[in-house]
């Protein structure tokens, strides 16, 4: 995704001199060509994310469209107050880009796991939250958020995410994309979990004969509540899938919509990470499997949910 992102940004920078990239001294092998080609539109702020975000806001208030760029939590949680008070409050054209959403930097350890970012950024007024599902979505999303739509959080995977969409897509901010249709159940995925959702749906077709709808909820804020309610009404069962804490992210956002929509008899489950710091050591695939975010476990959880009778079981938040 980061390669797609920088390629897209390069096209945009060539067409629009306002488009500016500010990195917090990260992006080795990714940003150099951009820096060489567009020296007037590139800044390395150094390992100083507070200043990076403040100065991005200052540049945006002076007419630029500024992308801040770093990995995991460095561009989000470290300068969170600069994002809140400076970029978001002023409705400035600052796009905060985090490469390595979820556990992309798996074995690097918990400091490099971005697993609460969606919940936190989603709570900020004016802030849009976008987590594209594959490289095609990354390209479309980058173009949109770089067109001057105000403060946005763009959460990317790292590298090597597979293409899920097989044909052209009509990517619109705040509109879910349907990658598989079906009426037996719905998996709503965000970010790089889209591929897992699609494979789990395929597997359930093979093993259970189920037609599972898969929605790429690439925009978590503003959420496509119409697509959520439609899925509830038409399929009756929804699971959300995210490489993020089950608190406050995609699952939380969908739960809010579902609860207030009062669609009768809907079964719903959030699949994500527990609210615990990850102490296991391993790469992204290993950690996903360990925490039940692999294709088999997701398919099994959805199959079990479909069998489950309404119960009084309660999960602690």
């Amino acid at each position: 995704m980061r390669t797609t992102f920088i390629d897209t940004l390069t096209e945009m920078a060539a067409a629009d001199p306002r488009v500016t990239l500010v990195t917090g001294d990260l992006g080795f092998g990714v940003v150099q060509k951009f820096a060489e080609r567009f020296p007037n539109q590139f800044v390395n702020a150094g390992v100083a994310e507070q200043n990076m975000t403040g100065l991005a806001t200052g540049m945006a208030l002076s007419g630029r469209i500024v992308f801040t760029y770093s990995i995991a939590n460095f561009p989000t949680l470290r300068p969170l107050e600069q994002i809140r008070n400076d970029a978001a409050y002023h409705n400035a054209n600052v796009v905060v880009v985090a490469v390595g959403g979820g556990m992309s930097y798996g074995a690097f350890g918990m400091t490099h796991h971005a697993t609460e970012d969606i919940a936190i950024l989603r709570s900020l007024p004016n802030m849009k939250v976008v987590a594209p599902g594959d490289p095609a979505e990354t390209s479309a999303a980058t173009k949109k958020v770089g067109s001057g739509i105000g403060p946005t959080y763009l959460r990317l995977g790292r590298a090597g995410e597979p293409m899920v969409h097989t044909g052209p897509i009509d990517w619109q901010l705040g509109k879910a994309l349907t990658t598989r249709d079906g009426n037996d159940a719905t998996i709503i995925a965000t970010g790089a979990m889209l591929a897992t959702a699609a494979s789990a749906a395929d597997q359930l077709t093979e093993t259970h004969g189920l037609k599972v709808r898969v929605l790429s909820m690439h925009t978590i804020k503003p959420l496509d509540s119409d697509a959520v309610v439609k899925a509830a009404e038409e399929t009756g069962t929804i699971v959300t899938l995210e490489e993020h804490s089950i608190l406050g992210g995609l699952g939380g956002a969908v739960a809010e919509v579902l609860c207030e929509a009062c669609v009768p008899g809907v079964k719903f489950q959030r699949i994500g990470l527990p609210s615990e710091y990850i102490t296991e050591v391993g790469n992204q695939d290993y950690l996903r499997e360990f925490h039940g975010l692999d294709v088999e476990t997701v398919a099994a959880k959805l199959a079990a949910l479909l069998q489950q009778q309404p119960s009084t079981k309660r999960l602690a938040a």
Binding site: N40, Q41, Q50, L55, T57, M59, S62, N85
Partner: protein, 273 residues
């Protein structure tokens, strides 16, 4: 060009408004507003290229009040210069009013940036100065910081960045009144050797008496004094300057002027309550 007498009078009026606003509002930070009255008077009355009739002109100089809690002084100088009606000052801190207790840019002509949490202004001002440099815009960016907020690491991130990018269109002015929230700066977290710190970071530093119109003028009217270097004006000031019982008193970071204190403060400022 305003005379020194006119700028002195503007500073006096800033203080009068600030104390009246605090009294009406039951608010505080009078001492913090008083210490930078001459700084604002010189900037708005003599130095900056700003026009109240066109507050968003492309070529305007930018002003960022990083010590947003002293907004009483900023609102006052803007009203005095005609950026918005004087009556707006009466809505400071009031339910349904326009002017909150920390500087806001929302709907207030002349205010570029909303501030209030310390350590935000200089990075934003640095971004504005960088954009101006990159876009070959002629404007300068002035940022007033408190001494206490120099505890914030974000300022030093910006302080390191600006000289590297040779932002000689950036001017940081420190209102060095020597008192911060819980005590004297020297007791809480000493900044000295303060000048040496800024010099070491690559800034051109000028120390002035922050209540001297002449010294502020000479420091600010020939920017940049050194090509390629941002300027830091360390303005030695007195918290609560202008009212003897407020001067150099931590209490007047917080206290609302009321009753006899209010009357006495106005009298010392040449006003009748």
């Amino acid at each position: 060009m305003k005379t020194n007498e006119e700028l002195t009078e503007l500073a006096r009026r800033i203080r009068v408004h600030a104390v009246k606003m605090a009294n009406r509002a039951g608010s505080c930070h009078v001492g913090s507003s008083f210490s930078m009255a001459e700084i604002l008077s010189v900037l708005y009355g003599r130095i900056m290229n700003v026009r109240p009739e066109d507050p968003e002109a492309d070529d305007r100089d930018r002003f960022v009040l990083s010590k947003g809690h002293a907004c009483g002084a900023l609102y006052s100088v803007l009203a005095e210069c005609g950026f918005f009606p004087m009556e707006w000052l009466e809505s400071f801190f009031q339910n349904g009013g326009r002017l909150p207790g920390h500087a806001t840019a929302k709907g207030i002509p002349g205010i570029e940036v909303s501030t209030g949490s310390l350590g935000h202004g200089l990075p934003i001002a640095t971004g504005m100065a960088l954009a101006a440099r990159r876009d070959k815009d002629p404007y300068r960016v002035y940022c007033v910081l408190s001494d206490g907020e120099c505890d914030e690491g974000s300022n030093w991130e910006a302080a390191m960045f600006a000289p590297h990018h040779q932002l000689d269109n950036l001017i940081a002015i420190i209102d060095y009144n020597k008192i911060q929230s819980l005590g004297h700066v020297d007791d809480v977290l000493p900044l000295e050797p303060f000048t040496d710190k800024w010099v070491a970071f690559g800034w051109h530093v000028v120390e002035v008496d922050g209540h001297s119109i002449d010294e502020l003028t000479s420091a600010l009217q020939a920017i940049p004094q050194i090509t390629g270097k941002p300027t830091c004006v360390i303005a030695h000031t007195v918290k609560g300057k202008g009212v003897d019982f407020m001067e150099d008193q931590l209490l007047w970071h917080y206290r609302t002027p009321r009753g006899e204190e209010y009357t006495a403060a106005l009298a010392q400022l040449g006003e009748v309550a």
